[in-house]
């Protein structure tokens, strides 16, 4: 039992328990802000620590291979931790203001993070399932954390109902795969010839559907807009970055490690769904006025882009996906930090709430614009490099039409991203002018947005660093 392999998870577990304990010992009326700082520092340490775990040799394993701590997993864990770190950082005020019991909130966040990390290094269906459910169930609760807003509860219920259904489907799929191969271990499944028969194939699609739900792929996406809109903004951010990225992580591992021989079976499937996502997501996002909801639809489209990378099924594609997932985190952090700040001060995230932001808080407006453009893939933001990576891989695989749809749709997406920019930058009517009061940007938010925008533009102009990291991650996995 090599406990170093699970050291990251243990680290996170410790943070979680400490947060819980502190929450219990603190007197009731005492502010829980301290816990936030505690979590932040802990996550920072964890982030730094994980860098030490990158390796070139054989990867550490746990539970004789059920749990694999390779660079691929590490990359994603860092991604989760980064996302979580920033979300906590920019939502300190938000939590204090809107969340009834912050202690539990932070604890649950850590639980979700733990689930993600487990997923990232899951090397068999059981571990995967457990990690997935740990994350999902925590999110059910997190989504419902705003007691003052009915939408929050509604979102939570919808998430639960649809999510439970998808869990059932996935579990059923796992059972079929198990039935076909007699094992839950990716390695064994990969070797088994039985997969090619109907049970196995049905099992694979059902498992894939489970992930499609997490990635909110059309037509398994219907929960996403409502949940994104209803959930507390930081949670929405985490749903967009963490939950999705975790899904991607384990999805790719499952496809490449467990079902590589059936590539001819699932690659076209992915390609088609990627196209559907890119088209549908972007088109549906056009008419949204609530930015959170719009981002939900755009996240559907983003899932489509990433699936293009998965569909190309080679080192280049995987690296592209890793790259994209990371820059998507940067972009989301920026956007949601701004949204959180705006919601704290103006009590909403619709276009009208964002109006005149360019005068009252130029920094926020600029960051919002840059982040959205990064999602749209406009240079010099990172999104452009990411799209180049992804679509280059796709075209090389022979999916020119996919790349074409992708580029076209990302240009269409600029339209609704620019609508947000328009709301922020357009000149105001006199009464708006008076209503548009400048507001103090808390330090957390300021730091977050600056870091995120630097990361976005920096990666866009000089992608080399992130590219090297992704190479490391993808190659050790692909061998």
């Amino acid at each position: 039992m090599n406990f170093w392999a699970v050291s990251t998870e243990i680290f996170i577990l410790v943070i979680m328990t400490v947060a819980l304990a502190v929450d219990l010992v603190l007197p009731k009326k005492e502010t829980r802000r301290g816990i936030g700082y505690l979590v932040i520092s802990g996550l920072l340490a964890a982030l730094v620590y994980t860098f030490g775990l990158y390796h070139t040799g054989p990867s550490m394993t746990f539970f004789d291979g059920l749990f694999l701590e390779d660079n691929y997993a590490l990359f994603f864990k860092q991604l989760f931790i980064l996302g979580m770190l920033f979300s906590v950082l920019f939502s300190l005020d938000y939590v204090e203001k809107n969340i009834k019991s912050p202690g539990e909130f932070y604890t649950l966040l850590m639980a979700a993070l733990l689930g993600m990390c487990v997923m990232a290094s899951a090397n068999d269906l059981l571990t995967m399932f457990v990690g997935l459910e740990l994350m999902t169930v925590s999110f059910y609760v997190l989504v419902g954390q705003r007691m003052d807003v009915p939408d929050s509860g509604e979102a939570s219920v919808k998430y639960l109902v649809v999510g439970a259904g998808s869990t059932a489907v996935m579990l059923y799929g796992i059972s079929l795969v198990y039935g076909a191969t007699g094992s839950l271990d990716f390695a064994v499944i990969c070797r088994s010839i039985q997969m090619v028969f109907s049970i196995g194939l049905a099992g694979i699609v059902l498992v894939m559907i489970g992930f499609f739900f997490k990635l909110s792929v059309i037509p398994f996406h219907m929960w996403a807009p409502d949940v994104y809109q209803g959930a507390p903004t930081p949670v929405t951010a985490l749903l967009a970055m963490g939950s999705k990225a975790a899904g991607i992580a384990v999805f790719m591992r499952a496809l490449y490690a467990a079902f590589p021989l059936l590539g001819g079976y699932w690659i076209p499937l992915l390609a088609v769904f990627a196209a559907i996502c890119m088209v549908g997501g972007n088109i549906m996002a056009i008419r949204q006025t609530d930015v959170k909801r719009m981002l939900a639809y755009s996240s559907i489209a983003q899932a489509g882009y990433m699936m293009c990378g998965i569909a190309s099924a080679d080192a280049a594609g995987m690296k592209a996906v890793l790259f994209y997932a990371m820059l998507y985190v940067f972009a989301n952090v920026g956007a949601f930090a701004v949204l959180t700040c705006v919601e704290v001060y103006r009590g909403g995230t619709t276009h009208t709430h964002l109006t005149g932001l360019a005068q009252s808080a130029p920094l926020l407006a600029a960051v919002m614009t840059v982040s959205l453009l990064s999602m749209a893939g406009i240079p010099p933001t990172a999104g452009f490099s990411g799209k180049m990576y992804i679509f280059t891989a796709a075209v090389e695989r022979g999916y020119l039409w996919l790349a074409f749809i992708g580029f076209l749709m990302s240009m269409i997406s600029v339209y609704y991203y620019l609508l947000v920019a328009k709301a922020m930058y357009r000149d105001l009517t006199p009464e708006e002018e008076t209503a548009n009061t400048a507001f103090r940007i808390p330090f957390g938010v300021r730091a977050t947005v600056l870091l995120s925008v630097i990361a976005t533009v920096g990666t866009g102009i000089y992608p080399e660093l992130l590219a090297m990291l992704t190479n490391l991650a993808s190659q050790t996995f692909m061998r």
Partner: protein, 632 residues
Amino acid sequence: MSEFALTHAWLIPLLPALAFVVIGFFTRLDKSISAKIAISMISVSFLLALGVLAAVISGPITMDNPLIQKVLWAKMGTLELSMGVLVDPMTAMMLIVVTTVALLVQIYSVGYMEHDPGAGRFFAFLSLFASSMLGLVISVNFLQMYAFWELVGVCSYLLIGFYYYKISAREAAKKAFITTRIGDFGMLLGILLLQITFGTLDFMELKELVPAYIWISGTGFMTVVGLLLFIGPIGKSGQFPLHVWLPDAMEGPTPVSALIHAATMVVAGVYLVGRAYFIFSALPAVMTVIAWIGGFTAFFAATIAITQRPFKRILAYSTISQLGYMMLALGVGSLTASMFHLMTHAFFKALLFLCAGAVIEAMNEEADIFKMGGLRHRMPTTFKCMAVGVLAIAGVPPFAGFFSKDMILAAAAEVSMPLYLLAAATAFLTAFYMARLLFVAFFGEVREDCPAHETNSYMRMPLVVLAVLAVVSGAWGHFAGFGEWVYFGAVQEEHIDFMIAGSSVLLTLIAFALAYEIYVAKRFSAHLLAQRFGILYTLSYNKYYVDEFYTIVRNTFVDKLGAVLYWFDLHVVDGVVNGLAKGVGCLSCVFTALQNGQAQRYVAVFYCGVIVLVAYSVFCAVRILNLLGGAF
């Protein structure tokens, strides 16, 4: 001296350009200094031109071996555009004409522009025009000629529109530019065709190449080129049907009319045909066209001139008519006659215009000749000069017009009788309407309200000089042997065919007598005549409605069509774009309508997806089984 002038001929156009720059940038606001600069520069050019003339007369330079200097102007790939100087007798003659008239007109303008605040601008433009015209004259290749051709066009645009606050002036300027532009279009096409056919535009090289080409591959293609080239002169020299701009151009200040629209710019067309004579003369079809267009224009314009009332407009139509003469001469193959007439005409027409200017200024901008009368008592000098001009243009010996016109008639008579008759008739009409002008404006008794008075010395001096030139230039040219000097191909010997000369002089005298009877002795009333020839009179008085016709054409084929196309742009091209945008929006509506907020609807859609995918998996399974050949 003359050698220097010859080698530095490029200075001639450059000095006025310098004047333009200096006046334009620095002394624009001080009219007297501007005038001094302009006049000094042009007079230096004039001296140089004299030097060139002397050198040409004395030196070895003839039409067949000109002096050539070239500089590279622009080069791309194999294509080299160059600018330069080509001096041969024809050039020298033109240089003299242009510099002389320009100099005199500028001196005249000092008086004429005395009270105009914009005088500085005026002199700047005049200098610019002079330099462009001189540049055109010394061109070595078609491109240079085209370039300066355009430049003189713009100068005329600027000068016609000099009184820019007058709507009529601004419209006239626009009309002049556009109309000549139509000619330039054809000319440019011709030049381009020459370029791609021969790979050069240089006159001297083409002079070698073109005949060879025609000898090898016939005249067919070159005829097209020639006709295209000739469209340019039609526009510039106000030949029918592009003559309409010239009468309107009289909106400009009178010195401008004298310099540009009588003496120099309008003859550029004639000069071009003369310069490219080695092309035209080899193309009989084109020559016929030129001849007939020239002849017809001459007659046509003369018939209009008879009935016009404004002083300058009569002169304008007479200019068109005279230009027709020159074209006719070219068409019938006598370069010498054409150039000779060009020279004499430049002098006496400038004279006439300057007199007109003096008269109109004296009459306080009253242009209608029937509001004048008896001016000979008030303005004796002007009257004398005017009379000289009239006699000259009417071709009364020994005035200049007699010799040149006689030469043209002779040449025409050699080629075709109809053309000769046309020309002779024109001569008659010319004499008549000029006499009418003179008699109506200057004879009869002075009106009591007539403000006229003799003009100041600045304006009188040029009149006298030009009058002298109008008297002597013809005789000088005739006896000094203009023919051995400016010719194409072989020198044509000069003789006065007394048959032709006599008849034309006779016609002229009859015309004078007739005019005298009508307008001075008032034996028959002009009105009666007008009613007698009702239709003809109206047609002529309304210039045969050519302008109206063009207006209709412009409205339909430019404005209406433009409106239609713009509608197309707005509603079809742009409509498609907006339509697509709207379409995407509707699609968005449709999709989002599916999202009705019902959790169970979501689950249902979810499981639809599940079913589809399971079906796909089963389908694949069956396929695989078939592949394996039913191993179950």
